[in-house]
Symmetry: C2
Subunit: 260 residues, 2 copies
């Protein structure tokens, strides 16, 4: 058994992180772990699971995917859960009005495979059982994934959605995925970690707030979301994020009356 588990862990290394946002049923977390293990994934992250963690109900439905359950990490916010990733997908039931690219599971997996092969840590957000991801959470992602379900009957649960993405992840090892690999000619073009990006977004928003951009106040949420979506779209490199902080600091200094 130990030997079996070790093999499963070895095979699992390097796949995308599966991030469950406020999962309600512990049983679902277990079925997610089982689906991940079936297709060689092991990095499970939970954002404030309702029933607490660790949870024996989850272990029961995981059907011996103990290495996934034991390795799961809990976070207080989505931002913290994805801070070390450089590529993030958000799963939604249907394409939203968004400027973000929308992909099917196959195209999304090819993109994941290419980035992970290039050493860039990646992850996939899955929303709550009842109402999925908020617009703000979707806004954190680089691309959206939707499933080609029958529009007259679309009721994939969270474990099924994870199963399909895990399956396509393993399928993408087949080869074609490589074609979509982004080429980063120079090291300075390596994508920024999400934590860096989020600090940039906060910085930008704070400055715009100071400049009175968010008016009237009731429009702040919508304007802020739009801004974050726009700034997330580019998959900024670490260097770009650094440079943009510099721009913001420059403006701030001017407002403070310092500098030139």
């Amino acid at each position: 058994m130990a030997g079996t588990d070790r093999t499963a862990e070895t095979m699992a290394s390097g796949g995308p992180a599966i991030v469950l946002v406020e999962p309600q049923m512990a049983e679902n977390i277990g079925m997610v772990a089982r689906a991940m293990a079936n297709f060689g994934l092991a990095d499970l992250r939970l954002v404030t699971p309702r029933d607490g963690w660790p949870n024996e109900k989850a272990r029961a439905t995981a059907s011996r995917a103990d290495h996934v359950i034991d390795g799961a990490r809990v976070f207080d916010t989505v931002r913290e859960a994805v801070a070390d990733l450089t590529w993030l997908l958000a799963t939604t039931a249907r394409p939203r009005d968004s400027v973000k690219p929308v992909r099917g599971p196959q195209g999304a997996s090819a993109g994941l495979r290419a980035r992970i092969a290039a050493g860039q840590p990646a992850g996939i957000l899955f929303g709550r059982e009842r109402f999925g991801l908020s617009n703000e959470e979707v806004g954190l992602a680089d691309e959206i994934v939707t499933f080609p379900v029958n529009p007259a009957f679309a009721s994939l649960n969270i474990a099924q959605a994870v199963l399909l993405m895990s399956y396509e992840w393993m399928q993408s090892a087949g080869g074609e995925g490589e074609a979509e690999a982004p080429r980063f000619a120079a090291p300075e073009m390596e994508p920024a970690e999400k934590g860096d990006l989020h600090r940039l977004l906060d910085h930008t928003e704070a400055l715009l707030d100071r400049l009175g951009y968010f008016r009237p106040p009731e429009r702040k949420v919508a304007l802020s979301e739009k801004l974050r979506t726009t700034l997330t779209k580019a998959n900024f490199s670490r260097m770009e994020v650094h440079a943009l902080h510099g721009v913001l600091r420059h403006v701030e200094a001017r407002l403070d009356g310092k500098g030139e």
Copy 2:
């Protein structure tokens, strides 16, 4: 609601039949129905479900896929369940020692799509929760489907297996499937219904029994299985089945001392 259901049914028409062999948990049947509905399938066939049919537990886990639950048909044997089909896949946890072609879900779906597009009814066998399909049941199929799971952790349940096949079925509408389409130049090459084929297999076996082929008697099961597998492999046309019956009858007549 009625309108929604009608659309779901319309979209579902023409997909492969999903045949569950001796399913034990009614909850699993419901989850299978839900997975089918998500991807536009509706023809559910049950071979002696353990908990009886209809079953309210199945309806509960079907999550409103009522049109699939209401349309499900129960059969006493696998043979009866597939008698009207001309192309049959068997799902197995791992490739078996078999002369049958083994495909992944994607290749299998492309093959299904091609045959169904040509007007040939097709179906997929799914085995029992605990021990899958018997060798004899696998022997009834034209091809085997296995899932590309992590060999160190392979524990797809029946609803997950149906979900993946249903998903790939919908994916196969995308196009490439057509390339694999078998071409039947002449109507006489149209594949036989499985019921016709099974009568041919019975006929053959009865004749061989009479000829003392199955000796020693304890080898009968293995020899018979091998024979059935071999004869199933060809996907005989209706005309071929007819002709082969003729051959058998001819031999029988000779044994009876009739004819020439």
